[in-house]
């Protein structure tokens, strides 16, 4: 094997390791003053594999030995995913012209950080200067009416870096699944039975949606907007990057299970600690009072979370349970006790994982 291919193999292994690490996101920082186990009831229903969509995984899930970041030896489901949502093709994301409507484009966070996502129409792109009160926004060509977007892998990769090169600023960012490596996969280890943690865990990667894609931590909005870019979502609240594949930053109902008989909010996925994450509102449109992690307990579901609204840029607040440190991960993870691989600018990773080329 030549040096180049060895380097390639090492880099690939490193990348796989980092991706795996990011996937688990975990490493609880035991700095909470409140013990979450004290609030827990005895019922801790585990993850229900049958609720995931057909095609959510590359291989049938396996049960393997694992150890949580808190040192508890347990059993975990091992999920291997392709980075693509089961049952649908992602997109559309960026509009192509300033005349494009909501039917051919995706969505973006409301600037108020609350409520539904806003339609990423051509007119929205055209009026970004008004929307954000910054006249420097210029994502469209005034003469042709065309929207500047990342039309190939190189520009997708270059635009979504923390240190966006000048040539990639002023872009609507979108990536395609075809840009992912041929052998791209993500591995998740999630406890088969949730283990209440002595202290609520700090959140990086949130979990896995029922369509097999990642529920990610908050998008680095200030950096995205600071580079005059929009990291376009599709109408389901997700987008693609080269490290996480398709992943969600908000939930708009695309990965929901059917509403339960008791009118409870539908399940959208599972957190990395194994507890279920449900939509924000129940069948009647009501929202519950929750604990600090955005969780609550009932007789049917045991402890579970409820996601925040689409534009709040978060799903849940913290991890109620223990989550798994991937095999081979360095003891203690990164400098804050979290996973290694912090961004070169010192900002946290989007999902607590490897230095992201993409958002």
């Amino acid at each position: 094997m030549g040096t180049k291919s060895k380097k390639g193999a090492i880099n690939r292994n490193l990348l796989v390791g980092l991706i795996t690490l990011s996937t688990f996101g975990l490493i609880a920082c035991d700095d909470s003053s409140e013990s979450s186990s004290e609030k827990d009831l005895t019922k801790n229903s585990g993850l229900e594999v049958s609720l995931f969509a057909d095609g959510a995984f590359l291989q049938p899930p396996k049960i393997v030995d694992c150890e949580t970041a808190q040192g508890t030896a347990t059993k975990c489901y091992q999920f291997i995913t392709s980075g693509a949502p089961a049952g649908r093709a992602p997109g559309p994301f960026c509009p192509r012209t300033i005349d494009d409507g909501a039917d051919v484009s995706g969505s973006w966070f409301s600037k108020d950080g609350e409520g539904d996502l806003v339609d990423l129409t051509g007119n929205f792109i055209l009026t970004l200067d008004d929307y954000y009160g910054d006249e420097k926004w210029l994502l469209s060509d005034a003469k042709t009416g065309k929207v500047r977007y990342t039309a190939d892998k190189a520009s997708c990769s270059g635009a979504a870096r923390p240190d966006v090169e000048e040539q990639y600023k002023q872009n609507c960012i979108e990536c395609e699944l075809s840009y992912l490596d041929e052998d791209f996969s993500l591995t998740y280890l999630i406890p088969t039975t949730p283990i209440p943690s002595a202290h609520a865990g700090r959140l990086h990667t949130v979990g896995i949606a029922l369509d097999g894609t990642e529920l990610s931590g908050p998008a680095p909005i200030s950096e995205i907007l600071g580079s005059y870019t929009i990291a376009a979502f599709d109408d389901c609240g997700g987008h693609i990057n080269l490290h996480q594949g398709y992943h969600y930053h908000s939930t708009t109902g695309c990965s929901n299970a059917s509403v339960s008989d008791d009118g409870h909010a539908p399940l959208i996925g599972y957190a990395v600690d194994g507890y279920g994450i449900y939509a924000m509102r129940d069948a009647k449109g009501n929202e519950e009072s929750l604990d600090e992690c955005r969780g609550t307990t009932d007789d049917t579901r045991g402890y579970h979370y409820h996601a925040a609204s689409p534009s709040e840029n978060m799903f849940i607040g913290c991890l109620h349970g223990e989550s798994v440190r991937p095999a081979g991960g360095p003891p203690g993870g990164g400098p804050d006790g979290g996973p290694p691989g912090g961004r070169p600018d010192g900002a946290p990773n989007e999902a607590g994982g490897p230095p992201p080329e993409h958002r």
Partner: protein, 115 residues
Amino acid sequence: MSTAGGVSSVTLIRWRTIKCCSICVATVLLLASSNVSAHSGQLNLKALNACKQKERSQACEYQGAHNDLYIGTCQYMADTLTCVRNQPIQKLDNDPPEYAFEHLQDDTQIRAIKE
């Protein structure tokens, strides 16, 4: 050209320049890192500001754009402490003055608001 200590003035100037540049770079980096820290990953700066000088799990609240009240606790999103709402969004009763002006017909109340 040389100084009394035997060090050339050019060298001295270079030293000072390097020292000055180092201080400048350090200052810029410090400012940059604090700026990143203050804004990392958060859309809603109100949620972020609501947890300034607070610790994890402390109660927080902030007012949204539509007279909504967000109530929660401070939690870490990666490395950033932000206000995580854990109560249903509440509508504030106290409408903004201009809204109240449009709807109030009682002169006394209007005067009271104007004062």
